[in-house]
C-alpha cells in the first residue's frame, strides 16, 4: 500500500486533491494559492544556494527513511525515530567535545559519526527491549523515549554543556569551522552528506532485497507467528531492525550537528521533525527504497521552499507541513477507498 502501487490516475487525483485542499486553506486565510505555491517553488529551486539548502535538508530525511524502511519491513512502527536522531546528535556532540582538542579534525568527525550511530542505535534497541521484555508497544515506548531524549538535550544545554558564561536554550558553544563538513566551493553542500544519504538508502535496499536478514525481516513483518514457527529468531531480528534504524537516525543526528546547514552545536529540538517527516516519506513510498529518494527530496523541497512564505509574505512556513500532511492523507484515502471498493467487488 503506497504511492507506488496506486494506479496512475488515482495518484494524480491524490496529489491534485492535496493541492486543492491546501489552496482552499490558503484562500481561507486570504492568500493567493498560486502565489504561495510559486513562492514555495522558487524558494526551493530559485537559486543555487536555495537548492543547496534543500539538499542539506534532504539528507537527514533520507537517512531516517533508510532506517524506517528496515523497521517497517519488520512490521514495526518506530515512532521513536525522533528520539534516536536526538540521541545521535547528543552522542556526536559528546564525542566532539571530548576529542576536539586532542585529535585531528577528520578523526574527530569520523569518531563523532560512529558515536552518533551508536547513540541512535542504543536508543532504538531500547525501544525494542521495552517492547519484548517490558511488553510496551513500540509506539508508546518510542514516544516516551522521544520526550526523554528531548529533555536530556535541554538538561545538557543548560547544565553540563552550557556555553561559557551564559547558559541558554539556544544551544551549546558552536564548534570551530574545522569541524564542519567540507562543502563544494560556491555550492554550499557537502559531498559527504549526499554520499552518506544516498549510500544509506542503497545499502538498505540491497540488504532488504538480497540478504537473508532482509528476507527474514520481511517474513517477520508479514506474519510473526509463521516466521517464529519456521525457526526465525523474531525477537533478535526485530531488535536488530531497531538498532539499524536507530543507527541511521543517529547518523542523521550527526549530520544535523556537523552538516553544511547545521548550526554546529547541540540545541533542543535538534531533530526538527525530520524523523516524523521520514515516516510520511516511507509510507508514501510504499516501503520502497527507490521511491523514497525522490519523495524525500520533494518533501525537503516543500519544507525549505515554504521558509520563503514568512519572509516574503505574511504567511506562516507551516504551510509546507500542511501540504505534506495533505499529500499523505490523500494518498492513504484514495488507497483506502480503492481497497474497500475492490473488497466489495469481490463479495
Amino acid at each position: 500500500m503506497g504511492f507506488r502501487t496506486t494506479p496512475l490516475l488515482l495518484r494524480i487525483v491524490a496529489v491534485a486533491g492535496a493541492l486543492l485542499l491546501s489552496g482552499a486553506a490558503l484562500l481561507l486565510i486570504g492568500a493567493s494559492p498560486v502565489d504561495a505555491f510559486g513562492l514555495i517553488l522558487s524558494g526551493a529551486f530559485g537559486s543555487p544556494s536555495r537548492l543547496a539548502y534543500v539538499i542539506t535538508a534532504w539528507v537527514p530525511v533520507l537517512l531516517c527513511s533508510a532506517g524506517l524502511l528496515v523497521t517497517f519491513a519488520a512490521g514495526l512502527w518506530n515512532i521513536g525515530i525522533e528520539g534516536q536522531v536526538v540521541m545521535g546528535a547528543v552522542f556526536a556532540t559528546g564525542a566532539i567535545q571530548a576529542l576536539q582538542n586532542t585529535l585531528p579534525p577528520a578523526s574527530v568527525l569520523l569518531l563523532a559519526a560512529l558515536a552518533g550511530l551508536l547513540g541512535g542505535a542504543l536508543w532504538g534497541v531500547f525501544v525494542g527491549t521495552l517492547r519484548f521484555y517490558g511488553n510496551v508497544s513500540e509506539i508508546f515506548g518510542g514516544l516516551g523515549l522521544n520526550f526523554i531524549a528531548g529533555s536530556l538535550t535541554v538538561y545538557l544545554v543548560l547544565g553540563p554543556w552550557k556555553r561559557p558564561g551564559i547558559g541558554s536554550t539556544s544551544g551549546t558553544q558552536p564548534f570551530p569551522p574545522s569541524l564542519w563538513l567540507p562543502a563544494f566551493k560556491g555550492f554550499h553542500v557537502s559531498p559527504v552528506e549526499i554520499l552518506l544519504g544516498l549510500g544509506a538508502i542503497a545499502a538498505i535496499a540491497v540488504i532488504l532485497r538480497g540478504t537473508r536478514f532482509g528476507l527474514q525481516l520481511k517474513a517477520v513483518g508479514k506474519n510473526q507467528r509463521s516466521a517464529f514457527l519456521m525457526g526465525i529468531p523474531i525477537e533478535r531480528r526485530m531488535l536488530l531492525a531497531f538498532g539499524l534504524c536507530g543507527g541511521l537516525a543517529g547518523l542523521a543526528g550527526w549530520v544535523l550537528i556537523v552538516g553544511t546547514s547545521a548550526r554546529h552545536n547541540l540545541f533542543p529540538l535538534i531533530s526538527s521533525g525530520y524523523g516524523f517527516l521520514a515516516i510520511l516519506v516511507v509510507l508514501l513510498a510504499d516501503l520502497n527504497a527507490l521511491w523514497s529518494v525522490p519523495i524525500s527530496f520533494f518533501f525537503a523541497a516543500i519544507a525549505m521552499g515554504s521558509l520563503q512564505l514568512p519572509l516574503q509574505r505574511q504567511l506562516d512556513s507551516s504551510l509546507g507541513g500542511v501540504i505534506q500532511g495533505m499529500l499523505v492523507l490523500f494518498v492513504l484515502i484514495t488507497q483506502g477507498l480503492q481497497s474497500r471498493f475492490i473488497r466489495q467487488e469481490r463479495r
Partner: protein
C-alpha cells in the same frame, strides 16, 4: 416459547454450514443439539440468536415468523444465547456488566437492579458478589452471570453452546439444576453439545446434525451407539495399514501435565517411536492440541517431562526442538504456517538450512521449482502462497519441512482437502515413516484416524484413552469421543 426453524441455509464461502435445517423445539422443554465439530450446530444457533442472518429459511417463534438484524433484537423478542466463551467485560464489576445490557435508560438505577440481580441469583442458587470484578470470577460463574443477565432481559428461549467445556463438575451440576428449573418455569432451553452423556442425562429430545443437515431426531433415553451412528455416519471399512518397522522411541511424554485457561491434561504418558503413526482424536479443545504443542516445544509443561530421542527437552525453547529434528505443522495454513504476501521462492529461501549472508535468488528459484515438482504442487516459483489451493498449501508446508524430520507433529493435515490431495499427502508421509520419521497427528476425521494410525489417543475433557487402530471400530471411537469410558 415454541421455536421453529424451517429450511435454514447458511454458506461461508464454499462451505455449506447449514444445508436446509428444519428443527422444532416445543415450549418448556430441554432440547439437545448434538453433532461433531463443524456439523453446523453453532452456525444454526447463531442464526437463531441473531448473530448471523440465514441465506435462506424461516424462523418462527410461537408460530410467528421473525427475522433478527442483531443479537439485541433477538433478545428483545425473547431469544438469548450463552456463548462458548463468555462475552462479558472482565474489567468491570458484575453489576456493571449487568447494567451494560440494560436497554433504553440513560440513568441507571443501580440499587433497583442490584436487588433484582440478587433475587435472580438466589433463585438459582448462584453465589457471587455483585461488586466483584468479572475477571475474578471462574468461567462457571461468568456463565451463571450471563444466564442471569439474559433471564433478566426477559429471554424465554435460552441457547447454551457447549456450556460445560470449561467448568467444574460441581458447577455443571448447578447449571443442570438451574436449566431444569427454567423449563419448569415454562422456558425453552436448547443445549448444544458433543457430549453424549450430558445430552442423554439432561435433554428430553435430541436432534443430531451432521455436515449441515439433520441426521436424526430422537426422544431420550436412546442408546448411545444409535446417536454415534447419527453423528458420524455408518461407513465401516476394513482397515489396512502397511507394516512399517517400529524403531526406537523418538517422543516420550512422561507424566506430562499441560494446560491453558480452560483445560488441563494431567499426567499423560506416551511413547511414539520411529516409523510409528499415532493419531489424536477428540473434539476440538479436548486436550489434543495442548499435547501436540507441548511436544513441539511451543507450550511449557506444568509438570512431567518431554523427551526427544531420549534427551530431556522439558522447558527448552522451541528452536532447540527444531534443532532436535522436531517439525510442527499447524492447522492454520496461512495463519501459522505460510506467510501471506510472499512467493514460493521466498519461502524456499527462508527455510534454507545453510546460513549464507546473501540470498542466492537464482538458486532459491531452482530449488523451489524442484520442490514444487517433487511434491506435485500446482504452483510456479513466483506464485504467492495465498493464491494456492488448500491442498497445494498443505503440500507446500510439507515441502518446506526439513528433509526427514525425526518427529513430525501435524494438526489436521488433510482438513478441507479432497480425496486425491489427502491420498497424495499420506503417500508422502508413509514414505517418510519408512525412513524412520515418527508421526503424531490430530484429526477430526474418524476414517482418517482409523486408516492412517497405528495407535490412537482419544481425548475427552483433558483425559486420554488409547486405542489400537487395528481392532478399534468406528463406533468405539465415536463413543469415546463423545465421552464414553471416561470418568
Amino acid at each position: 416459547m415454541k421455536v421453529q426453524l424451517k429450511d435454514i441455509h447458511k454458506h461461508f464461502g464454499s462451505v455449506h454450514a447449514n444445508a436446509g435445517v428444519t428443527l422444532c423445539v416445543e415450549s418448556g422443554t430441554l432440547h439437545g443439539l448434538l453433532g461433531e465439530n463443524g456439523a453446523g450446530k453453532s452456525t444454526l444457533m447463531k442464526v437463531l440468536s441473531g448473530f448471523l442472518s440465514p441465506d435462506r429459511g424461516e424462523i418462527l417463534l410461537d408460530g410467528k415468523p421473525v427475522s433478527f438484524s442483531s443479537p439485541a433484537q433477538a433478545v428483545e423478542l425473547g431469544v438469548g444465547m450463552l456463548h462458548q466463551d463468555p462475552l462479558d467485560f472482565p474489567a468491570l464489576s458484575v453489576l456493571d456488566n449487568f447494567l451494560l445490557g440494560c436497554p433504553g435508560h440513560w440513568l441507571l438505577d443501580r440499587r433497583r437492579v442490584r436487588t433484582q440481580l440478587m433475587e435472580l441469583l438466589a433463585q438459582f442458587d448462584f453465589q457471587f458478589d455483585p461488586e466483584a470484578l468479572v475477571s475474578d470470577l471462574s468461567v462457571g460463574q461468568r456463565q451463571q452471570l450471563e444466564i442471569t443477565r439474559l433471564l433478566w432481559l426477559g429471554v424465554r428461549v435460552l441457547i447454551l453452546d457447549e456450556p460445560t467445556t470449561a467448568i467444574s463438575a460441581q458447577q455443571r451440576e448447578k447449571l443442570f439444576l438451574a436449566l431444569r428449573k427454567l423449563t419448569e418455569q415454562g422456558k425453552t432451553v436448547i443445549f448444544v453439545s458433543h457430549k453424549l452423556e450430558e445430552v442423554t442425562r439432561l435433554c428430553g429430545k435430541v436432534t443430531v446434525l451432521s455436515h449441515g443437515k439433520v441426521t436424526g431426531e430422537v426422544a431420550m433415553p436412546c442408546p448411545t451407539d444409535r446417536l454415534v451412528r447419527m453423528m458420524f455416519g455408518q461407513t465401516i471399512t476394513i482397515r489396512k495399514r502397511s507394516t512399517v518397522p517400529i524403531g526406537q522411541p523418538i517422543l516420550e511424554l512422561d507424566h506430562l501435565t499441560v494446560g491453558d485457561w480452560r483445560l488441563e491434561v494431567k499426567s499423560l504418558s506416551l511413547k511414539v517411536s520411529e516409523g510409528e503413526v499415532v493419531g489424536l482424536a477428540g473434539l476440538e479443545g479436548s486436550g489434543q492440541q495442548l499435547v501436540m504443542r507441548a511436544s513441539a516445544g511451543l507450550l511449557r509443561p506444568e509438570g512431567g517431562r518431554v523427551l526427544i530421542a531420549h534427551m530431556d527437552m522439558t522447558g527448552r525453547p522451541y528452536r532447540q526442538f527444531l534443532e532436535a529434528g522436531v517439525s510442527f505443522m499447524p492447522a492454520g495454513r496461512l495463519e501459522e504456517g505460510l506467510i501471506e504476501g510472499m512467493t514460493w521462492t521466498e519461502h524456499a529461501a527462508l527455510v534454507e538450512r545453510q546460513l549464507p549472508f546473501w540470498v542466492d535468488w537464482a538458486m532459491a528459484s531452482t530449488n523451489a521449482a524442484r520442490c514444487i515438482q517433487e511434491f506435485n504442487i500446482k504452483a510456479r516459483p513466483a506464485t504467492y502462497v495465498e493464491d494456492l489451493s488448500g491442498g497445494n498449501q498443505q503440500r507446500t508446508l510439507l515441502a518446506l519441512l526439513p528433509p526427514h524430520p525425526r518427529l513430525l507433529l501435524m494438526e489436521h493435515p488433510t482438513r478441507g482437502l479432497d480425496m486425491e490431495s489427502t491420498e497424495s499427502i499420506w503417500g508422502l508421509l508413509l514414505g517418510w515413516t519408512r525412513s524412520g520419521t515418527a508421526i503424531l497427528f490430530t484429526s477430526s476425521d474418524l476414517d482418517e484416524l482409523l486408516d492412517r494410525s497405528d495407535r490412537m489417543l482419544v481425548f475427552f475433557g483433558g483425559q486420554a484413552r488409547v486405542f489400537d487402530a487395528r481392532d478399534a471400530t468406528l463406533e468405539q471411537l465415536g463413543e469415546a469421543i463423545g465421552g464414553k469410558g471416561f470418568e
